[in-house]
């Protein structure tokens, strides 16, 4: 299977956007190589601003650039943009409804060896709670490109999460990408596996294992954490009667919580959440960490079996 980092795909998309839209400008904070923002810089140095290690300054300057009609993309690590500059994100960007694209790379445990300070596991929770923002978490490199293009077309605040390491490429150029509309990856009716980002490929692996044991599972890719696709989630609950969510994020406040909010209101069914269990990460190889923190296909399989036992009637 082809593997490619979503940050690499984003860097390429940003360069294309630079060619297509003269209004696109890029800001970075001493991480232009890691975020791949340098692909854009190489072609459009005059539209690129490295503001140094100052995430608050970066988002503030982006707001000013958007006030003048430009389309700023602010690129750094997810953890620094969402954590360090949260006050600016909240007030100057979201409250103000500024057209600023906040691109957080190196999210999740799979940052690996840099350890807990760099592993952003709470970005969904703290961004999706803010009014006016769209929160995206593309599943692979192909989808990342589509997402980058789509957010440049719309006017308003966006937070997009990207990963450091290569993700399996599981979507095609021809697959649809509509913000707020989840994608069905596999049909099934005993249980629905609702996942985002890297965890969608784990969910697909889990579905194979389950099918060998006679359990039919539906796999849904949630690339838009906010606004969440309520209809697809409610249909899955009605048609399968059991839900498992999977994300490379804290158990509280992320995809699992967002899905639970929809279900509790509309179609309460038994549910299990595969996520980091309210603890910080640590240094280690990405694969090793995914295993240690129970974010592998086998963990989704176990969660699916547990939730099926709790199904009604």
């Amino acid at each position: 299977m082809e593997m490619k980092a979503t940050r690499d795909a984003f860097g390429e998309a940003l360069r294309e956007l630079g060619r297509e839209k003269r209004k696109v400008v890029v800001l970075s904070g001493d991480l232009e190589d890691s975020t791949r923002a340098e692909y854009f810089k190489k072609e459009f140095p005059e539209r690129f601003f490295n503001l140094g290690i100052a995430e608050q300054d970066i988002l503030g300057t982006a707001v000013g650039l958007s006030l003048d009609g430009l389309i700023p993309f602010a690129c750094s690590f997810a953890v620094f943009l969402t954590n360090r500059a949260y006050g600016i994100l909240r007030i100057s960007i979201c409250y103000n409804k500024r057209n600023v694209k906040v691109i957080g790379s190196h999210a999740g445990l799979t940052v690996g060896e840099d350890g807990a300070t760099a592993q952003c596991l709470e970005d969904f929770a703290i961004t999706r709670v803010l009014p006016n923002i769209i929160v995206l978490s593309p599943v692979d490199a192909v989808e990342t490109k589509k997402a980058a293009k789509a957010i440049a077309e719309l006017c308003g605040p966006v937070y997009m999460r990207l990963g450091r390491g290569p993700y399996p490429v599981i979507t095609k150029e021809s697959d649809p990408f509509i913000i707020g509309k989840a994608n069905l990856m596999r049909e099934g009716d005993d249980v629905a596996l609702i996942a985002t980002g890297l965890m969608v490929s784990e969910a697909l692996k889990a579905a194979k294992i389950l099918s060998d044991e006679g359990i039919s599972s539906r796999v849904i890719n949630i690339h838009t954490i906010k606004p969440i696709d309520e209809e697809t989630i409610i249909d899955a609950a009605k048609e399968t009667g059991a839900i498992v969510t999977a994300e490379e994020h804290q158990i509280h406040g992320g995809l699992g919580s967002a899905v639970a909010e929809v279900l509790v209101k509309n179609e309460p069914v038994p549910m299990e959440m595969v996520a980091v269990q309210d603890t910080f990460g640590e240094s280690g190889a990405p694969e090793e960490l995914l295993r240690k923190y129970h974010l592998k296909a086998v963990d989704i399989v176990n969660a699916a079996k547990d939730v099926i036992k709790r199904k009604r009637g």
Partner: protein
């Protein structure tokens, strides 16, 4: 504490050993920040092995002086010093950045004995130091609080917020040191967003300043001494350093910021520090 020639020689030896350990740790880890660890070694040596009052047998001793590594990516230099000082066994050094180990990629105080604070997101250390300094004043402790910042790091706005707080509150128990190696990740600090001249800026913010050669242990120690004496003002020492100091092919090279030495590079580096790969049995 007086600095005898014998003590000075001993400190130089210590710094040499710390550099060897830093290189070995990073090579074994296979990732990490080499350049900024090496540039900070002499400053950390002077603090932990001469200047600071601390007790490895009693890491939480109330009256200890404190050291905050605000540029958390320089952790390997601090880890090597803490281990040599006796806070934990040397074998932990070889598990840097490994799952289950006590030495995280960036300092995490709850996992490593002797670490005062967690760092890694740059720009936060001075605020934390200010809080400790205020607490020490309130409880009438005579501890000194030392903070090591990167020169790139002081682009972070929060540093200047903290600079204002320290001066406003007359935190003369604070001694900040800038590891002024002139480089950050993407290039030179001057090329990305210059902070020069550094010392007058801090003076304008109400700080007492000094400029020294950050690899001359005698100068470092002399500069640290008046830190106890200046009254009513926080002190900033601008230490001119070389990123990658001690290994000729790493010195002043921006490319060695966040890259660990390969085994081949380690083999070439060790003799420059008076060691050899053969003597370093672990490898």
């Amino acid at each position: 504490m007086t600095l005898t020639p014998a003590k000075l020689d001993e400190l130089k030896e210590t710094a040499r050993h710390l550099r060897i350990d830093v290189l070995k740790m990073l090579t074994l880890a296979g990732s990490g920040h080499t350049g900024g660890s090496l540039s900070a070694v002499d400053i950390i040596t002077a603090l932990y092995f001469h200047k600071m009052r601390h007790d490895p047998q009693n890491p939480r001793w109330d009256e200890r002086d404190r050291f905050i590594l605000s540029k958390g990516h320089g952790g390997p230099a601090l880890y090597a010093a803490l281990s040599k000082a006796g806070y934990f066994d040397r074998r932990h050094l070889w598990q840097l950045r490994q799952a289950g180990g006590i030495l995280q990629g960036h300092p995490f105080s709850r996992s490593t004995p002797g670490l005062e604070c967690t760092s890694g997101s740059l720009g936060q250390g001075l605020s934390i130091a200010n809080g400790i300094a205020l607490a020490c004043k309130l409880t009438k402790k005579s501890c000194q609080i030392y903070v090591l910042l990167g020169d790139g790091e002081i682009q972070e706005g929060q540093v200047w917020e903290a600079a204002m707080s320290a001066a406003h509150h007359k935190l003369d128990n604070i001694c900040a040191i800038v590891d002024n190696n002139g480089l950050q990740i993407d290039g030179s600090v001057d090329g990305i967003k210059s902070l020069n001249p550094i010392a007058p800026r801090w003076r304008a913010f109400g700080w007492e300043t000094r400029e020294i050669d950050g690899h001359d242990l005698k100068q470092i120690i002399q500069a640290l001494d008046p830190a106890d004496k200046v009254k009513g003002k926080p002190q900033m020492i601008v230490a001119h350093t070389i990123k990658g100091k001690g290994v000729s092919f790493m010195e002043g090279k921006v490319g060695y910021h966040g890259v660990a030495p390969t085994r081949e590079e380690l083999k070439r580096a060790l003799p420059e520090l008076g060691a050899s790969i053969e003597a370093e049995s672990l490898l």
